[in-house]
């Protein structure tokens, strides 16, 4: 299935958001959104992905 992760189109095997994070080797403190909607970490395993979904994975970064 083709999805867009952090702006990059990508072909993945994952069927859920939880599987996607593992497949793309994200770990540690990250937060996720799918199609501009926040998905809490507790719901990632159950969150089914669909073709063309836009996934954002963010992490702590410098800020003012």
């Amino acid at each position: 299935m083709k999805i867009v992760i952090n702006g990059e189109p990508r072909e993945v095997n994952a069927e859920t958001l939880g599987e996607l994070l593992a497949e793309c080797c994200f770990s540690g403190r990250v937060a996720t959104a799918v199609n501009e909607e926040f998905v809490p970490s507790s719901l990632r395993i159950a969150h089914k992905l669909a073709e063309g979904d836009r996934v954002e994975v963010v992490a702590p970064m410098q800020g003012g």
């Binding site: 990250v30 937060a31 809490p40 963010v58 702590p60």
Partner: protein
Amino acid sequence: MKRFYGTELPNPLMLGTAQYPSPAILEQAFRASGAGVATVSLRREGAGGAGQAFWSMIRDLGVLILPNTAGCHTVKEAVTTAHMAREVFDTPWIKLELIGHTDSLQPDVFQLVEAARILTEEGFQVFPYTTEDLIVAERLLAAGCQVLMPWGAPIGSGRGLNNEYALRAMRAEFPDVPLVVDAGIGPPSHAAHAMELGYDAVLLNTAVARAGDPVAMAQAMALAVQAGQRAHQADPIEPRDMAEPSTPVIGKAFLS
């Protein structure tokens, strides 16, 4: 010192974590400043997990974390970012920025009030980056904010307190609300100025991070906020138009 959502700050300096020459200098600057609050943000995580190393360093500073919604231009974007920040940083605190103008980075106060209302209802403790407008301030308080953060000058401009009159008026209007001058600080005298007006804290980033020697500047800022705070408590004299001799006139020898 006033409490920020029930939390007493160790000192009146809030320091940003962006734009330092290196992580090591960031860390040294924080220790030199004694700042009790660090502002942070969220950005897309890279393949190497850059965010995790940054998080580990910030956590080791042992300071309070204030995540921001920097760069957000809509209520929806800001609210979603706040939810992500709450999960990542494990804090209800959110520095709510809703940018309305590209050049000045002036807050869009209409959307700011709306986002503050939504986030307060959802259990956040909102630190709104706002202008010095008193009516907007009232609306933010009515929306549930218990802290106000008016700008001194546009972010990164180093112009100091552009509208001292309005900042004084805000202090007088809301004597019991924790007030923070956020943005626009250049040299430490600007930070001292804010504290002399009776502000409860100063939030700055660029002034330290982009200084030639960020560590020395961080220390200078710490001294400045301390001096300004002490000066405010000491009740400064009012300015006057004419001179008033400080040396007693009575008893001067008659020599002419």
